[in-house]
């Protein structure tokens, strides 16, 4: 195992047996990957690609059929490993009768946060996720976005070294999603490792250092974000004061080197960027999360 790996997976296989006759369904097929410490790692793939199953194996919720998984040097699923992990499941659902503060406190107890620092940790987690104002309301009254944020709070209350987030911004408005993104970046700055499963590719591209793409239980692609997104043999030039004459001149220069001008297009910002820029400007510096 490499010294810098928060998660090390080697030859992971998971078969589900369906029905009494035991027909096998292979959800993960020989997966091997390594998540470096102090990074944000994106785990991507279509529905049924084995992402959730892989996460569950790392968390000890499901046992692997074959292969080896290590989390921060400990066997995946062991109590020692789980003590260092914070987990936010997809579409989280929590005890409706508890208030936000009680919920986070409950999970802090489950993670053996010492009583002398527990209240401080709870307050910090609520503050970080912007849930301090709503902390004393019952979880049953929370909106979807608030549930995601209180879920994030419970995942980080015990200051884990590794945080695993399954669709953390699903159902959250863009401002809220941006706020969560800032939280993840701040966690990386503090030396934490984050594993992020998301269908929002724009956010993954923006936040993650490395990504892995799964399809039908197999690893299709893995590497640094910049590295995998670059087209090796093409370059993008952004030119100001463009004119037709300049185009002819550029074509001629490129032809001299055996290159060809394929297309000329005006650069675009993404709708999300535009949305965030305009609304942040409207609400003032820093952008208040509603």
């Amino acid at each position: 195992m490499s010294a810098c790996a928060a998660i090390e997976i080697r030859g992971l296989v998971k078969d589900f047996r369906t029905g009494l006759r035991g027909v096998k369904l292979r959800a993960v097929d020989g997966l091997s990957l390594s998540v470096p410490v102090n990074s944000i790692y994106g785990l991507l793939g279509p529905n049924g690609s084995g992402k959730s199953t892989t996460l569950k194996i790392l968390l000890g919720l499901v046992a692997p059929t074959a292969g080896e998984c290590l989390v921060l040097g400990c066997a995946a699923g062991s109590v020692a490993a789980r003590a260092k992990i914070g987990f936010l499941p997809e579409a989280p659902y929590f005890y409706r009768h508890l208030s936000g503060r009680e919920l986070v406190r409950f999970y802090a107890r489950m993670s053996a946060v010492p009583s002398r620092v527990r209240e401080g940790s709870v307050a910090d987690a609520l503050e970080l996720t912007g849930m301090s104002a709503a902390a004393d309301r019952r979880v049953g009254t929370y909106s979807k976005g608030m549930l995601q944020r209180i879920g994030l709070a419970q995942a980080i209350v015990h200051d884990p070294e590794l945080v695993i987030l399954d669709e953390p911004t699903a159902g959250v408005d863009p401002l809220g999603a941006a706020a969560i993104g800032r939280i993840l970046l701040a966690m990386r700055e503090r030396g934490k490792t984050v594993v992020l499963c998301s269908h929002l590719l724009g956010q993954v591209e923006e936040l993650c250092d490395r990504v892995a793409i799964l399809d039908r239980g197999r690893l299709v692609l893995e590497g640094g974000v910049a590295e995998v997104l670059e087209r090796r043999d093409e370059r993008l030039l952004v030119v100001s004061a463009w004119s037709e004459a300049a185009r002819v001149s550029v074509e001629g220069a490129l032809a001299g080197h055996g290159a060809r001008l394929e297309a000329v297009r005006a650069p675009r910002v993404s709708l999300e960027q535009l949305f965030v820029e305009r609304l942040s400007r409207a609400e003032g510096k820093g952008g208040e999360v509603r």
């Binding site: 029905g19 009494l20 035991g22 059929t65 074959a66």
Partner: protein, 266 residues
């Protein structure tokens, strides 16, 4: 690795069953005193004893473990039939209550009395078709005798099941013999049995003595028995729960005179 789900399930079921059998065997010595107590105090259940009443909800009582409460409901239901003078309904629900919870002495006591005193009148009324016919006196006596014998059988069984309250059962048997069967000798015998039980009613011994003396003409025998009975109280061989000894002494003083004693009838 090609282990089927079925074989895993079977293996686990076998292991779990084995653990339960071993644990049960090991724990059987802990639960034995309680199990034996239940066996001694709960009647052995036979399916045939419930024939005829299963459709009345006894099934719930038996299989739901609510025998006592189902018996109580059955008894209350029999009271409803009693109010309506319906012999069949009353008898059916009484039988159900007795089968489900024979540990309730009230069922036997009241059941015997209702059978002996009330049911013959309902039977006669039914046969007389509400007054349109008139049964012969002999037939009426036969009906009363039959139900009186059934009542006595119930009370005798009850006395065996509830030896601590046997005195009450024998007293009721005596009343049936005296008032329905008109057999003072049998009544006297039942009163004697009642007097010799634990916790007898104060009048049981006196009723026996009076029946012997007045109805059967055996006064001397009655006086000797009464003296021997009173002596047991004087010597402390019997516990006096209700001034019995005082009453016995008073009656014996009266019997010492020429005039016959006051009639003491319960």
């Amino acid at each position: 690795m090609g282990v089927s789900l079925k074989s895993v399930f079977v293996c686990r079921a076998v292991v779990a069953g084995g653990v339960l059998v071993v644990a049960g065997w090991g724990l059987s010595w802990v639960g034995r005193p309680a199990g034996e107590w239940q066996g001694a105090h709960q009647p052995a259940f036979r399916a045939e004893s419930l024939e005829g009443v299963l459709g009345q909800g006894a099934l719930l009582g038996v299989f739901g473990g609510f025998r006592a409460i189902m018996a109580d409901f059955a008894w209350l239901r029999s009271y409803v039939s009693w109010e309506r003078c319906e012999r069949a309904g009353c008898e059916t629900f009484m039988r159900m209550a007795l089968t489900l919870d024979p540990g309730n002495a009230v069922f036997w006591l009241d059941g015997g009395y209702i059978t002996a005193f009330d049911m013959p009148h309902w039977e006669v009324r039914t046969r007389e078709a509400g007054g349109r016919l008139k049964l012969d006196a002999v037939v009426v006596r036969q009906i009363k005798g039959e139900y009186a014998r059934r009542g006595l059988a119930l009370l005798s069984t009850g006395a065996e099941r509830h030896p601590a309250r046997a005195a009450e059962f024998w007293e009721r048997c005596a009343m049936i013999c005296l008032n329905v069967l008109k057999e003072p000798e049998r009544a006297a015998e039942f009163y004697r049995r009642a007097a010799e039980c634990e916790n007898p009613k104060w009048y049981a011994s006196l009723a026996y003595a009076n029946l012997l003396a007045l109805e059967l003409g055996r006064k001397e025998e009655a006086r000797r028995w009464l003296e021997a009975y009173a002596e047991k109280f004087r010597r402390g061989e019997r516990r006096d729960t209700g001034r019995i000894r005082e009453l016995l002494d008073e009656v014996l003083r009266e019997w010492g005179t020429a005039t016959p004693p006051r009639t003491v009838r319960p």
